[in-house]
């Protein structure tokens, strides 16, 4: 996670891919491909409708055992095989519209994928507050200062 100069937050995920970038790009623009790789973990199936052109819309629905994750957005940059940029709104997450940029970098017979997900703005935390997140987190700020170090948590780092 990074905080950008304008006070927004973004996530950058980089990953080496074992095939040339043309093929990786294709896997992002082919609904059949998306259906396959958009459903890891508890997701049982995924459906994708993609209109890959600037201004075109997409909709990806991932069905889990208990929940349905639905995401929609609009393509803003379509530059094969180097770059895709689209808006991203999760219908179950807070109502903020964020932006995802996917860069496909050639690395010989392989490639590297750089995903930048940004636009998690400070201003929009108001919406998180409504959901109770921020309110609680804020109240704890003072509490934290006096509380003993947690001996147990829900998370771990390996």
């Amino acid at each position: 996670m990074e905080k950008t100069a304008d006070g927004n937050y973004r996530i950058v995920v980089r990953r080496k891919m074992p095939v040339p970038r043309e093929l990786v790009y294709e896997s992002w623009t082919d609904p059949e491909g998306i259906r396959e790789w958009m459903c890891p973990g508890d997701v049982i199936s995924a459906e994708a409708t993609l209109d890959v052109r600037v201004g075109g819309a997409f909709r990806i629905v991932m069905r889990g055992k208990e929940r349905v994750h639905e995401h929609v957005g609009t393509y803003e940059v379509v530059d094969p095989p180097a770059k895709l940029r689209f808006t991203w709104a999760g219908l179950e997450t807070p109502k903020e519209i964020t932006r995802v940029t996917v860069e496909f970098v050639a690395r010989g017979q392989e490639s590297e994928l750089i995903i930048t997900h940004e636009g998690f703005s400070k201003g929009k935390e108001a919406e998180r507050y409504e959901m109770g997140w921020g309110t609680i987190a804020h109240k704890f700020a003072g509490y934290l200062a006096h509380s003993p170090k947690p001996s147990r948590g829900v998370s771990s780092r390996h």
Partner: protein, 123 residues
Amino acid sequence: MVEYQHSAELDRVFSALADPTRRAILRAVAACPATINQIARPFPVSLNAISKHVMVLERAGLLRREIKGREHHCWIEPRPLREADVWLEYYRQFWELRMDALATYLVRKYKGAKKGGAHGKDR
């Protein structure tokens, strides 16, 4: 920053916070640690119902409880909510999981039974 190892943990946090009564309980306990009886007082539901909500929060790691005699004392465990960066963490994990799945998919599709030989020049 908190790093979640399993999406199941994060899911528990999200579903625990999805309920307005549970959020109200958390807010109350955040302001002041309390017993289950004290927590239940302002709510128009049974003590049993509140007790179940508390259990859900406890399982999600958002609330801690200590039993002293017959009293259950509850207080907040703020760690899962610290910095309110849970959504960022959710999406970081979301993309990393999908990148793993994408790499697997590409290997299966283009490298198939081949033994690591360079393949898939261009289409």
